[in-house]
Symmetry: C2
Subunit: 334 residues, 2 copies
DNA sequence: TTATCAACCGCAAACGATTCCGCAAACGAT
DNA sequence: ATCGTTTGCGGAATCGTTTGCGGTTGATAA
């Protein structure tokens, strides 16, 4: 059926455009009888307002952008799912962009977002990001930005992420309680702040306890996990437990251990950080610290809408807590 | 920096709005010297056209919507990645929506998309979908729709998907060549057309050969793979090979076999259909028919832009071919 | 009767761009 | 000198809404 405009609807009703407009938005100036007529005709002709035109008047585009470094399989789908729900609930639409982990591209995208006048931006920072000034400048006088997942807390923006270095400490503490003394930590690219944090927490925890021995494997490229981990385990055969900082790596660690025919958890225990799906898909199920991607997305989106609705420029810094989920990949040595 | 409008820019330049507009769009009516001045000022004041306003005149919103039943981890990220690239290359932006596999919601979303006047829609059909009429009606006089992945070819729309039942035949043929006589097929919800196709191809292939024995496991809910498959294998211990129709299921099949301590491929061989990442992440690496999610996304998006640019209403029906990738999960019994 | 005041509705100006016309100056040709 | 044509630019309508403001009714009070 052809879309009808407000003007045409008004003509059909023999009323003025403004009356029809007000009737549809339930304005008190309009009598109930008129409203009823308008509503009827509107339904009859299947009138739907042109939202783009409305946005031109009201200065609100109804668009929220999500900018991601990349689309990875473990985290992003759940994240998007939850963000999408919140965004649609508020009658906004979700735009997605990928920065390919390039800072330049990130700035371009943000600029473009402002050009198409999005109302708000959800941003997961690229690895290449460093110059805070640029971003701060961009945010002024433009669409508000909320950082999520990959954040830099010293920026003057709201951000939502999982808890930082404490989680590594909790992992080390847990493994120690289970009797593990020689613990390997497997981390992603040390260029990313999240790797840095978790690595830092790990080494600090090891040192604090005094009776532990820590070993660090930093993977510049996760695709080389197989080779690097094989070398690592050969070099340090005394390792009885691995602390793995992400699903992406955990998947590859399992692959490697299976290939090497190393029994989990009998020969090597594994503990990871995950949003919960992968640990139950691999055998044996991985004991992990559960952090909900859905929760991060939801909170970030809600924070953004809080800003959009209330116009409050108050900066929130939300940290999502992790929760230990004990499954089958850690052996009790005691 | 504050955003400036065309009017303000024109005032600053002491020219008319129309001149400035034309100069920026390189209209032949405008002299080179004027154009130069306008470009300079435009750069100086950082003028960016308001795309919403432009839309109202030109009727092109620069928005393309992608409607998905759900965000699954194996297929969607790659799909989105490729779609996103094509869309951005054309200077459009990508909106995403999820239909939660509900037909009602799907229609609502399509309607909403037309309301916010997207220029085109990429649609992966929900399972619940059946009434072709409704969709056909919707497509008339509105944004063009291209179906992808989950398609219904009899609809009067362009669609892009992986090849249908032939792939099951190729799989059966391959397993037979390797000496397997008792072959189990593991399929998802028979309500989905893609499951139906692959199941149909499978049973037909088995029958055609005559010397094979086929066994079918249809999973209403993939989360019950563990229980169902355990029962299945106990019931038919003669099965030497499993044909698995998706990554989602393959992952769970591996989990189950590992749990049952069944050796792959020595005791049971596995062949699957996949876009290639999972098979290399599980051990032993899964022999599979490679179908590129990226390819599907790319072709679908390109098809859509073909329609958008050329206004040709010609219907294309693109089928992506699969390619056998022999890895380590199928044993040669001969 | 007339002033007052709701209640109800329409006019017209935005929003920020594009684009159809028309108009003046310049120019070459007759 | 006159006429047509090109060149370069401005005026104003337009896209489909929202909304401030003013105007018309009819009822009520003075």
């Amino acid at each position: 059926m052809k879309r009808i405009t407000l003007r045409e609807l008004a003509q059909a009703l023999n009323m003025s455009i403004s009356t029809v407009s007000r009737a549809l938005s339930d304005h008190p100036d309009i009598s109930e009888s008129t409203k009823e007529k308008v509503r009827e005709a509107s339904a009859l002709y299947n009138y739907k307002p042109n939202l783009r035109a409305r946005y031109l008047r009201t200065k609100s585009s109804g668009l929220v952008a999500l900018i991601l470094p990349e689309y990875n399989m473990f985290f992003i789908p759940t994240l998007m799912q939850s963000i999408s729900e919140v965004v649609n609930k508020h009658n906004y639409s979700l735009l997605v962009f990928q920065s390919d982990d390039s800072f330049e591209k990130e700035l371009d995208i943000i600029d473009y977002c402002n050009q198409i006048s999005v109302d708000g931006i959800l941003l997961s920072l690229s690895n290449g990001f460093n110059k805070d000034e640029d971003l701060k400048e961009l945010s002024s006088d433009n669409a508000p930005i909320v950082l999520l997942d990959k954040v830099l807390p010293n920026l003057k923006m709201s951000c939502v992420s999982v808890e930082g270095d404490e989680i590594s400490q909790r992992a080390v503490s847990y493994l120690r309680k289970k009797g593990h003394k020689h613990i390997g930590g497997v981390f992603a690219d040390p260029g990313i702040s999240i790797s840095q944090n978790r690595l830092k927490g790990f080494t600090e925890a090891i040192e604090d306890y005094g009776d532990l021995q820590g070993y660090v494997l930093s993977l510049e490229n996760v695709n080389e996990t197989d080779r690097e981990l094989t070398r690592f385990l050969k070099e340090f055969p005394e390792i009885t437990a691995l602390y793995v900082m992400s699903d992406e790596i955990a998947m590859r660690v399992y692959h490697c251990l299976n290939k090497l025919n190393v029994k989990i958890p009998d020969e090597v225990s594994v503990i990871s950080i995950s949003d919960g799906s992968l640990p139950r898909l691999l055998h044996p199920n991985i004991t992990h610290f559960y952090h909900s991607a859905a929760e991060i997305g939801k909170r970030a989106a809600e924070t953004l809408f809080h800003v959009l609705k209330s116009k409050s420029a108050e900066i929130e810094n939300i940290s999502i807590e992790c929760q230990l989920v004990e499954l089958d990949s850690v052996k009790d040595l005691k």
